[in-house]
């Protein structure tokens, strides 16, 4: 294995951050410049949004269910089993809904974007597009970013709902809680800040996931092996960055909404 000097490694890292920042910036700037590719955006929305519904539903449902199951034991010790709805609701809406949906979409779509764009890169299709007078960041990157941001928002709502439903099924069928009590505590516990926090995060996660997927795809080189490497890197980077961004953004929003 070839050894890289620390100076070269540092230069490569700084260049990678610079290239990523430029791509991310351009993907936003393209929204204010012609041409805009609406058809491509809708197509990506279908691919990212509609295509991800089954995994988001399943993930949300079983996460909510297991939350109710796990928390029941602890809550019962304090005689607070009736708070199950509140616990599931707060956990799903504030944290698990957006984060798990983000991670699912990162695994499914960041990889898809990286492999698709990576294949296009190594077979000179990206160069061909530029040679035909079309900006690949406008035609390929911006539609994916917009689609991911918009669809992750709605997917998170779906995930939250099915998480609550999963929690309810456990609460009703296994813990024997009252339907009204579960939904009432779940609803009452949520404040404006919780909902805003839970629905603002996916916008940021969608942006991170799509730009990461596109960045690694457009950086791919070295044939099919390079595409495979780009795909893996995209999923890892998108997932890790989603979690890192989640922490800092949560802290910021908690300070903003004075949530403790």
């Amino acid at each position: 294995m070839e050894l890289v000097s620390p100076v070269d490694y540092a230069k490569q890292s700084v260049r990678a951050v610079q290239d990523y920042s430029l791509l991310a910036g351009r993907s936003v700037a393209n929204l204010f410049a012609h041409p805009r590719y609406l058809t491509d955006t809708v197509q990506q929305m279908d691919l990212i949004g509609v295509g991800s519904v089954p995994i988001v539903v399943l993930t949300g449902f079983f996460t909510g269910a297991v939350l109710a199951l796990q928390s029941a034991n602890s809550l019962a010790r304090f005689g607070a089993l009736s708070m199950t709805g509140q616990l599931v609701s707060l956990s799903m809406v504030r944290e698990l809904g957006p984060v798990l949906t983000g991670l699912m979409v990162a695994g499914r779509n960041a990889s898809g974007m990286a492999s698709e764009l990576g294949s296009m890169k190594v077979t000179e299709q990206i160069d061909a597009m530029r040679a035909l007078g079309t900006d690949p960041t406008k035609k390929l990157v911006t539609p994916r970013v917009v689609a991911a941001v918009v669809m992750l928002f709605f997917l998170t709502i779906i995930s939250d709902f099915f998480g609550l439903l999963g929690g309810f099924m456990v609460a009703k069928l296994i813990l024997g809680l009252d339907t009204y009590e579960y939904w009432n505590t779940a609803y009452q516990s949520l404040v404006y800040g919780d909902v805003v926090m839970g629905l603002t995060k996916p916008l940021l996660f969608g942006f991170v996931i799509a730009t990461m997927g596109c960045y690694y795809g457009l950086q791919a080189k070295g044939g099919t092996q390079g595409v495979g490497r780009a795909t893996t890197q995209a999923v890892v980077a998108a997932s890790v960055l989603t979690l890192v961004v989640n922490f800092f953004f949560t802290r910021l929003l908690m300070a903003f909404f004075k949530i403790h």
């Binding site: 041409p35 296009m120 000179e124 597009m129 530029r130 040679a131 035909l132 007078g133 900006d135």
Partner: protein
Amino acid sequence: MTEPLQSEDVIIHFEDVAIAFDDLVVLDGVTFDLHKGETKILLGVAGSGKSILLKLALGLLKPDRGHIRVLGQEVTQMKENDLFELRRLIGMVFQESALFDSLTVRENVSFRLREEHVSEDEIERRVRESLRFVELEHTVDLFPSELSGGMRRRVAIARAIITQPELLLYDSPTGGLDPVTSTTIVELIVKQHDEYHTSALMVTHRLQDAFTMASHYYDSGAKEMRPLLGAHGEPKVNLDTTFVILKDGKVIFDGNAPELARSSDEYIREYIA
């Protein structure tokens, strides 16, 4: 942004162009001109920087040194957004065709027209016309993966010529093809030149293709390529077809076929032998 050319006749002007990747010097002080109506063939061994030269002309890469003027514009100084405008006047055929594999032949060939919001009727007419030119009208609904290597090259030519560009760049259009298919591609390039007189820069490492292009013309009546003959039936060459030979990143020959044949340079003599 746009600077007038010294001579309106010059379509591409390379002046002292150099580019290196890490420590590898690929082009070092390359200078040549492509004139209007001329077909210039870039020859050189694999890795001599021929394809890089085409990418430089298109502004897909920036040189480390030198000036490149294409259709009167200094591409080395242009921003990417301005380059997109310029590239619309240029047709490029890539080495491995570079067709969009998720689009049909129709969508590939019409890509640029759709970007320009041309009407559907007009697109259909011009796609058919372009595919008829390369004799592949029947493949209009197929995907690139359903075509042979030679057919893909022909579709790539159809995509490049659909807007009737002022300049065509061919990157090893016959590379990796069998001799019969190669001749078909060369015949198409000769046909394109003889019918539209488009200036062209072609990269190849196949000398026989270069000489075929210089010594043949397209007979539109017979619909085939025929040898150029002089008044007394002797073989003739087209002086509009010129050659540039690259060696170690430098131009070691720039001239037409008779000049190439007369060259006393040992490397060139060995190369054309």
